[in-house]
Amino acid sequence: MVSMTQRQGDVIKELEAVFKDRLFTEPHILALYSHDASSEVGVKPMAVVQPVSVDEIIKVVKLAIDHGFKIVPVGSSTSLSGNATPKLENTVIVSMERMNSIIEVSDTDWYARVQPGIKVDELNLELMGYGLQWPVDPASSKTATVGGVISNGGGGMRGAKYGPASHWVLGLEAVIGTGDVIRVGCRTVKCREGYNLVQVFIGSEGTLGIVTEATLRLAPLPESFVGVMARFRSAESLVNAVIRVRRDKLWPMVTEFIDDITAQILNLEPGYYLWIGIDTYTGSEQQILTKLSGDISLSGGEVINRASTWQEFSKILEPRRMLYSATLKAAFNDYGTDVFVAFEDIAVPMSKLPEAVREIQSLGKKYNVRMNLGGHIGDGNLHPAVWARRSDRDEMERVLRFFEDVGKLAIRLNGTVSAEHGIGTQKKGLLREAIGSRNNGNSDTVIGLMRNIKRIFDPYGVFNPGKIFD
């Protein structure tokens, strides 16, 4: 009989033949790939490989089918929902770090063909030279890879106008669980070629295959830009300003906010802060600024800073960009390194925002948790963050119950339990509840369809097991 270790040894030998010095089995290095940026606890994989070609990816998938090991594809492992965390020891991490080229940019057709390991900001720095952008900008854009953002269905600050990744991918090349390479989608925005398999891949969290190339839809960089930073006495009046701007048919590219707790951590004057930035054309800046400022004062806010270029707006937006740092600063101040921090990710229809903000704050009080609130309020996407002392079981329990209830609140307000962070391992239960709420309590049919789709792409169960659903 062949022992487990012997079998593992055979696999490593075969992987070594393909990947040579791009195979890692040293336990300390393996530990670096055993979890992502979420709180999900993972296990050490048996190996990490860094492919540089599609051929190598086909080989590792065929080896997985033959030897029965699992594959977790990863980019930068910045997931906040556990979707890049391996849960089984017989896992090989396929890290796309080295497949990071821009293959082609078309400034006439407005698309870019890229390998999945390029980081979002690296791509956008290149595209600036063409006057173009890939307008998907998660807060982690400096480190998040395009492949990761696609697999996670990421969004970000510009989502209020441009929408998430699902709006900005024209075509994909991927290796699926049979070892076949598929190329789906087009290079045109209009593309009606049967079922839309590109969209099936977006947000699939590495459970269907490995994206090896993406054709991304691009947008022109705005010719001109105006924006404001405003302070409000209450969350309610801030939300009303956002709704008023919307009723005025202004369509901001960026609408972001932070609450009074975050403002305090950042040493800002007490209050709730709103940033609205609008892309426009030269000549119309003053008119838009006047309208915007009017909406803010009518809602009880005070404009503190105005910007008439993107560069100026980036400067006044800085405190909002510090939301993540501010949360960590407060958490470490409270509990040192014994701290547990988690970031929620719900979205609700805009009309439900006042209720959502009010109820999240009262849930925070109900469970007596340390929290702050901020997010992409322009598309209803809220990111309450909570922190607790890991060694305090009671506080940890209260934080988890708060999380659960925030998800349930999103469902009750016809929103979603995950706007852009994904389901991973941490929201499987809430996903079922959300689907059930729209299907007379029956989530089995829809989850069953998802499971069947997974079986078609990945008949041997190779890819990222245990994610999205059980």
Binding site: E26, H28, I29, L32, S76, R98, N100, K142, S325, L328
Partner: protein, 104 residues
């Protein structure tokens, strides 16, 4: 220079966001997690927690040593870290600790 306890207190703060990798010259040259600040401080964290250079005799191979020793101490990572970790100094101090341990 930090002592081993101070290094550990710093590296334990890492939330794994990876923001530090963007400006790191060695990460950008090699595109491998172990050759970026996030990788290095997490290797250091595990090594300290496993008792490296302290009570236990921990074997580490070239991959691990190389990744830590190749840090250029440019400290560009420090400007990016949302948790405010003194990444460059922690790595620099641990390099000295590795040399002390090896030369013992």
């Amino acid at each position: 220079m930090m002592n081993i306890k101070e290094i550990h207190e710093e590296v334990k703060k890492c939330m794994y966001c990876g923001f530090c990798e963007f400006p790191c010259p060695t990460f950008n040259a090699l595109r491998s997690r172990a050759y970026g600040p996030r990788g290095r401080i997490n290797l250091i964290k595990t090594l300290i927690e496993n008792g490296f250079g302290q009570s236990k005799n921990i074997e580490i191979n070239g991959d691990v040593i190389n990744s830590i020793m190749t840090c250029l101490h440019c400290a560009s990572c420090d400007t990016q870290c949302p948790a405010g970790i003194k990444i460059a100094d922690a790595i620099h101090s641990f390099k000295a600790f590795i040399l002390e341990t090896i030369l013992k």
